[in-house]
Amino acid sequence: MAISNEMKENFEDLAEKIITKEELIFFLEEISVAQKEIFKKEEGFLSKKVEGRISEDLKKYSKNPEQQFYFLEQLKKYLLNIPQVKLEIVFSPSANFLNKISSWLKKEIGKKIFLDLVLNPEIVGGVIIEYQGKYRNFSLAKEIDKIIAEKRI
C-alpha cells in the first residue's frame, strides 16, 4: 500500500506538533500502544480502546484495523526519518523558545527537524550544535577559554 498524499499531510500535521526528541519518543510509545490495541478482541473503536492512553491527535486518524496498523506503522517510519539536531544548552528552554527555534530551522533549511536537547551547565552559555555529522561549538565556555589563552600568550 503506498502512502497517499492525505496520509502524508496527516504525517506532516502530526510531525508539526512534535518539536523535541523527547516528545518524539513519547509519541512513538503512544503509536506502539495503539498498535497493540488494534487487534485486541475488545468491542468498540480503536479510539475507545485507547481512550486516555494516547493523545487526541492520534485518535483522529484511526480507520479499519489494517489501515490503522498500516497508518501507524508508516507514521512511525516517517517520524523516524525526520532528521534531528543535537543542541547542548545550559538552560531549560520554554515551549515558546522551542517553537521559535523549530520554526526558524524549518524556514531556513526547508524541512522539519526535531531538536535533541541536552542540558550541559559546563558550556556556561550559547550552544553546541551537532547535525548530520557536523559539530560546532558556539559555547561561552569556549570563548572564555580562547580569551584566557590569548591573555596567557
Binding site: 543542541l87 544548552i89 545550559v90 538552560f91 528552554p93 520554554s94 523558545f97 521559535k100 527555534i101 526558524w104 530551522l105 531556513e108 533549511i109 551547565p121 559546563e122 556556561v124 552559555g125 550559547g126 550552544v127 550544535i129 547535525y131 557536523k134 560546532r136 558556539f138 561561552l140 565556555a141 572564555i144 577559554d145 584566557i148 589563552a149 591573555k151 596567557r152
Partner: protein, 237 residues
C-alpha cells in the same frame, strides 16, 4: 846430668843385686843337684846341711848388709849430687829466667814502643783519612743538598704545574656542572612557573565560567542561542 848419674848408679846396684841373686840361685840349684847327685852318689848329714845353710844365710845377710850400705851410700851420693846439681840448676834457671825476664822486658818495651809508634802512625793515618773523608763527605753533602734542592725544586714545579692543571680541569668541570645545574634549575623554575601559570589561568577560566554562568539570565541565554543559530546557518545548515 843428675838424672844420668842416678840412673847409672841404680843400674849398677840392680846389676849387683841380680848377680847376687843368681849366685844364690845357682847355689840352691847346685845344692839340690848335689843333693840329687848326693842322693845318688853322696849322703850328706843333716848337720852339714844345716851348717851350710847357716853359712849361706850369714853370708847372705852380710852381703845384703853390704849391699844395703852400698845402696845407701850410692843413694846418698846421688841425693847429694842431685841436690847440688838441682841447686845449681835452680840458680841457673833463675839466672836464665831473669835473663829471659830482662830480654822479655826489653822485647816487651820494644814491642810496646813499636806498637805505640804503629798506633801513632795509624792514628795519624786515620786522622788524615778521616779528614779526607770529612772533606769528601762535606763535599758530597753539599753536592747532594744541591742536587736534592734542585730535584725538589723541579718536583715542586712539576707538582705545582700538575696540581694547577688538575685544579683547572676540576674547576672547568665544576664550572660546567654548576652551569648545567644552573640551567637545570632555571628550566625547572620555568617549568614550575609555567605550570603555576597554567593552573592560575585554568582557575581563572573556571571562575570566569562560574561567575558568568550565574550572572546570565534566561532571556540572555535564549538570545545567545538565537544569535548562534544565525552564525551556524552558514557553517552547519
Amino acid at each position: 846430668m843428675p838424672n844420668d848419674l842416678l840412673t847409672n848408679n841404680l843400674l849398677l846396684l840392680l846389676s849387683f843385686a841380680a848377680v847376687v841373686l843368681l849366685a844364690l840361685f845357682f847355689c840352691l840349684i847346685l845344692g839340690r843337684k848335689k843333693e840329687t847327685k848326693s842322693s845318688i852318689f853322696l849322703e850328706v848329714s843333716e848337720t852339714f846341711k844345716n851348717e851350710v845353710e847357716n853359712l849361706i844365710k850369714k853370708e847372705m845377710e852380710i852381703a845384703v848388709l853390704e849391699l844395703r850400705e852400698k845402696i845407701q851410700k850410692v843413694s846418698n851420693e846421688i841425693e847429694r849430687e842431685y841436690k847440688e846439681k838441682t841447686a845449681n840448676l835452680v840458680s841457673e834457671i833463675d839466672k836464665e829466667i831473669s835473663k829471659i825476664d830482662k830480654i822479655g822486658l826489653e822485647n816487651q818495651n820494644k814491642i810496646l814502643k813499636e806498637a805505640e809508634n804503629k798506633i801513632k802512625d795509624l792514628q795519624e793515618g786515620v786522622e788524615k783519612n778521616l779528614k779526607k773523608f770529612e772533606d769528601v763527605n762535606l763535599k758530597t753533602q753539599a753536592l747532594l743538598l744541591t742536587a736534592t734542592k734542585n730535584k725538589s725544586d723541579e718536583l715542586a714545579k712539576g707538582l705545582t704545574e700538575e696540581i694547577s692543571g688538575v685544579y683547572q680541569a676540576v674547576k672547568d668541570v665544576l664550572s660546567q656542572k654548576i652551569a648545567e645545574t644552573d640551567r637545570e634549575i632555571e628550566n625547572y623554575k620555568k617549568e614550575r612557573l609555567k605550570e603555576i601559570d597554567e593552573k592560575i589561568y585554568r582557575m581563572l577560566g573556571e571562575i570566569a565560567k562560574k561567575t558568568i554562568g550565574k550572572a546570565i539570565d534566561l532571556s540572555t541565554h535564549e538570545e545567545l542561542v538565537e544569535k548562534t543559530f544565525e552564525k551556524a546557518k552558514k557553517e552547519i545548515f
